[in-house]
C-alpha cells in the first residue's frame, strides 16, 4: 500500500490525508466543481475532479471514483464518513478493482446496515438489545400481554415506523389499550401498515457509543466510550470522552459487548457500537456504524491513539500498535461541531463566504476543519465546517479550556453554531454532567434566549456608535450637523422618509 485515494471532502478528507502523510503514504484527493479550491485538494499529492457539485455526480459516483483511483495509481481507498462509507457495494467495487478498502469487509457493512436484522444478530450474539417483541401484536389484548412480559413503561411502535409516527408510550394496561388503537390507525394512514410492536421504553437515555478496532491478527479491542447526548434531531452537536455516566466497571462491560458485536460480524478496522444507556446503568444496542466517526478525535485525545493511522496499518495487513488489554483513558476531551447553522434561527443552514478565520491555538486544543479564509459555504454538502476539540486533565478543565478556545475562535461571513456551544459550556446541567438525549429539548429555549446580556450590550453599543460616528465624519460635511439647518430640513426629511415608506412597504 503506497497511495491512498480519499473518497471524501471537507475536514475528514484533510484528516485522512494528514494521517497518510505521517505514515509515509501518498494521498489522492477527489473533488467536485464546488470544491476546486478546498483545503483537502491542496493538501494531497494528486487531485482528480469528479464532476459537478451535486454529490450524486461527484462524491457518490462510484464509477468516477474508481476511474480516479486507476488514473492516479492509487492502491487503496479510504471512504471517510458519510457519502459511500457504509455502502457495501462501494467496498465491493474497490475490492474487485484489486484495491484495498480501508474499512470493514462488505459482509460486515451489510450485516450491520439492515437495522432490524442487526438487532436480531446482536441478540443472538449476547449483546443486550432493548427488550421487546419480535412479532407484531394481533390486537390490543395481545399488546397488553406482551407489555406485561416486556415490563412497563413500554413503547408501542409501528413496524413500518419512522419519524415518531405510529409511536405511543404506555405506562399501564389501560394506556396500552388506548395507545394501541391510536398507534395502529396512525401507522395505517402514514405507512399503510398497521402492525405494532411492543418495546421497553427507555426513559431519559443517554447516547453512549464504544469505539472498536479490529485487525487481521484476531485482535478486536475497544477504546472506551464517547458520550453523544447533546443532539438536535438525532444530529450530534457535542461529544465527550469519557462519559460522565460511565465508570470503570460499566466501561468494561459495554466495551466487552461492543467487541462481541464486532466479532459476530467478522469486523475489521475502526467501527462504533452505539448504545442507549438508561439512568440505572442498563445499556442496549442501538446500531453499529461501520466507519470512522465524526467524533473520533475525543477518543484519540484521551487514549493517545491515532485511529486513522491504525486503520491504515490494519488495511496494509499490519497488526495494530495497541495492546490487547483494556486501556485507561487519560484526562477528558470534548468536541464541539462548528456548523454553518444559525442557532438563533432554529439552526437554519446558512450560506456565505468565510471572510475571516481565526483559529484557537494553545495547550490542549485541536482544530480539525475543512475551511479557510475565502472558502465558499454552499448547500451541496453537510453543514460541518470544523470540529473544535479540547483536552484537559479532568472534565472541568476540559470545559474551561473549551470555553477559552471558543472565545478565541472567529469565523466571519457565515453564521455558525459557535455561540450555541459557548452557552452550553456554561450551562449547569451540562457542566454538572447530568444530561441525557432530552438535553436540548429541555434547556434549548432558555439557552438560546435571543436577548443580549447586560455584559455584552455596552461594548457592542459603544463600538457601533464609534463606527457610526467615524463613518459620518468621513462623509458628512460638518456644517450639516448644525442645529439650525437641521431643524429646518427635518420636516423635509420626514416627508421624504414617509414617501419612501409607503412605496417601500410592498417590498
Amino acid at each position: 500500500m503506497n497511495r491512498v485515494l480519499v473518497a471524501n471532502r471537507g475536514e475528514i478528507a484533510l484528516r485522512i490525508i494528514r494521517a497518510c502523510h505521517e505514515q509515509g503514504l501518498d494521498a489522492v484527493a477527489v473533488y467536485s466543481e464546488a470544491d476546486r479550491l478546498a483545503p483537502h485538494v491542496k493538501a494531497a499529492d494528486a487531485a482528480v475532479e469528479l464532476g459537478p457539485s451535486p454529490a450524486s455526480e461527484s462524491y457518490l459516483h462510484v464509477e468516477r471514483l474508481m476511474d480516479a483511483a486507476a488514473r492516479t495509481g492509487a492502491d487503496a481507498v479510504h471512504p471517510g464518513y458519510g457519502f459511500l462509507a457504509e455502502q457495501a457495494h462501494f467496498a465491493e467495487a474497490v475490492g474487485q478493482a484489486g484495491l484495498v478498502f480501508i474499512g470493514p469487509p462488505p459482509a460486515a457493512i451489510r450485516a450491520m446496515g439492515e437495522k432490524t436484522e442487526a438487532r436480531r444478530r446482536m441478540a443472538k450474539a449476547g449483546v443486550p438489545i432493548v427488550p421487546g417483541t419480535t412479532e407484531a401484536a394481533d390486537d390490543a389484548e395481545a399488546a397488553v400481554a406482551a407489555s406485561a412480559e416486556v415490563g412497563y413503561p413500554v413503547l408501542l411502535k409501528a413496524a413500518a415506523g419512522g419519524g415518531g409516527k405510529g409511536m405511543r408510550v404506555a405506562r399501564s394496561a389501560d394506556e396500552v389499550r388506548k395507545g394501541f388503537q391510536q398507534a395502529a390507525s396512525e401507522a395505517r394512514s402514514a405507512f399503510g401498515d398497521d402492525r405494532i410492536y411492543v418495546e421497553r421504553f427507555v426513559e431519559r437515555p443517554r447516547h453512549v457509543e464504544i469505539q472498536v478496532l479490529a485487525d487481521r491478527f484476531g485482535n478486536t479491542i475497544h477504546l472506551g466510550e464517547r458520550e453523544c447526548s447533546v443532539q438536535r434531531r438525532h444530529q450530534k452537536l457535542i461529544e465527550e470522552s469519557p462519559s460522565p455516566a460511565v465508570d470503570l466497571d460499566l466501561r468494561l462491560r459495554m466495551g466487552e459487548a461492543a467487541v462481541k458485536a464486532a466479532q459476530s460480524v467478522g469486523y475489521l478496522s475502526a467501527g462504533t457500537v452505539e448504545f442507549l444507556l438508561d439512568p440505572q446503568g442498563r445499556f442496549y444496542f442501538l446500531e453499529m456504524n461501520t466507519r470512522l466517526q465524526v467524533e473520533h478525535p475525543v477518543t484519540e485525545m484521551v487514549y493517545g491513539v491515532d485511529i486513522v493511522r491504525e486503520q491504515l496499518r490494519i488495511a496494509a495487513g499490519e497488526p495494530m500498535t495497541l495492546p490487547g488489554r483494556p486501556m485507561r483513558p487519560r484526562g477528558h476531551a470534548i468536541e464541539c461541531r462548528i456548523t454553518s447553522e444559525d442557532p438563533f434561527a432554529n439552526f437554519l443552514p446558512a450560506t456565505g463566504r468565510v471572510d475571516y478565520l481565526h483559529v484557537p491555538t494553545g495547550p490542549g486544543v485541536r482544530w480539525d476543519a475543512g475551511i479557510e479564509t475565502g472558502s465558499e459555504i454552499g448547500l451541496f454538502y453537510d453543514s460541518l465546517l470544523g470540529k473544535l476539540i479540547a483536552w484537559g486533565e479532568n472534565r472541568e478543565r476540559a470545559i474551561r479550556r473549551m470555553r477559552r478556545a471558543l472565545d478565541e475562535l472567529i469565523i466571519v461571513g457565515v453564521p455558525t453554531s459557535q455561540p450555541f456551544h459557548r452557552r452550553v459550556m456554561g450551562e449547569e446541567s451540562f457542566t454538572s454532567g447530568e444530561y441525557d438525549i432530552g438535553y436540548l429539548e429541555r434547556v434549548g429555549e432558555e439557552l438560546l434566549e435571543p436577548g443580549i446580556s447586560g455584559e455584552e450590550l455596552q461594548p457592542i453599543a459603544v463600538a457601533a456608535a464609534l463606527a457610526e460616528d467615524e463613518a459620518r465624519a468621513a462623509r458628512v460635511p460638518t456644517h450639516e450637523n448644525g442645529s439650525a439647518a437641521g431643524a429646518e430640513s427635518a420636516w423635509l426629511r420626514a416627508a421624504r422618509m414617509g414617501g419612501l415608506r409607503s412605496t417601500g412597504r410592498g417590498r
Binding site: V412, A465, L466, G498
Partner: protein
Amino acid sequence: MKYTVTVGKQTVEVEVSGDSVRLNGEPIGATLIGIPQTPLKQLVLNGRARTFAMLRSDGGWSVQASGRAWLVTVEDERTRQLRELTGQRGGYAAGGLIRAPMPGLVVRVEVEAGQRLEEGAGVVVLEAMKMENEITTSGPGVVKAIHVEAGQAVEKGAPLIEVVQPEG
C-alpha cells in the same frame, strides 16, 4: 454627536465628541480602531480590548462578538425624534415579506391567508441539506398572501409569505 443605540430590545445612549465618549451620561474611555485587511475592529473600552467583526448593514451595523452577529441601530437625536413623530417602529420592522433564507424545497405551508400569527410562528417548512427547516415570523401579523406551495423548489430570496401588521 449623541447617539441612541439599540440592540434587540435594549437601548443605550452614547455621546461622542472628539476623543471623549459618554455612555448613558457617564464618561468612559473608548477607542475603536479598524484592523487593516480584515473585517475586524478593535474596541478598547475602559482599558479592556475586544475584537468585533463589524459590517455596515441596513440602518446600522452588524457587530459580531463570540460568533454571534448583533444588528445594532445607531440613530442621532434628530432621526430618533423624527421617527417617534412619524410613529415608525424602531429596530427591524415586524412582518413584511418573508423570503426564503436559502434555496430549498417547500415541504409544507403551515398557514392560511387571513390567519393571525404570533411572533415566531412557523409559516413554511423548507428542506435544504436534507434537513427540514421551519421558517418563522419575526413579529406578530396577519397572513396577507402565500406565494408558494408544497413541492415547489425555491431560490434564495424567493418570496414565501407576506405578513401585514395586525390591526389595532
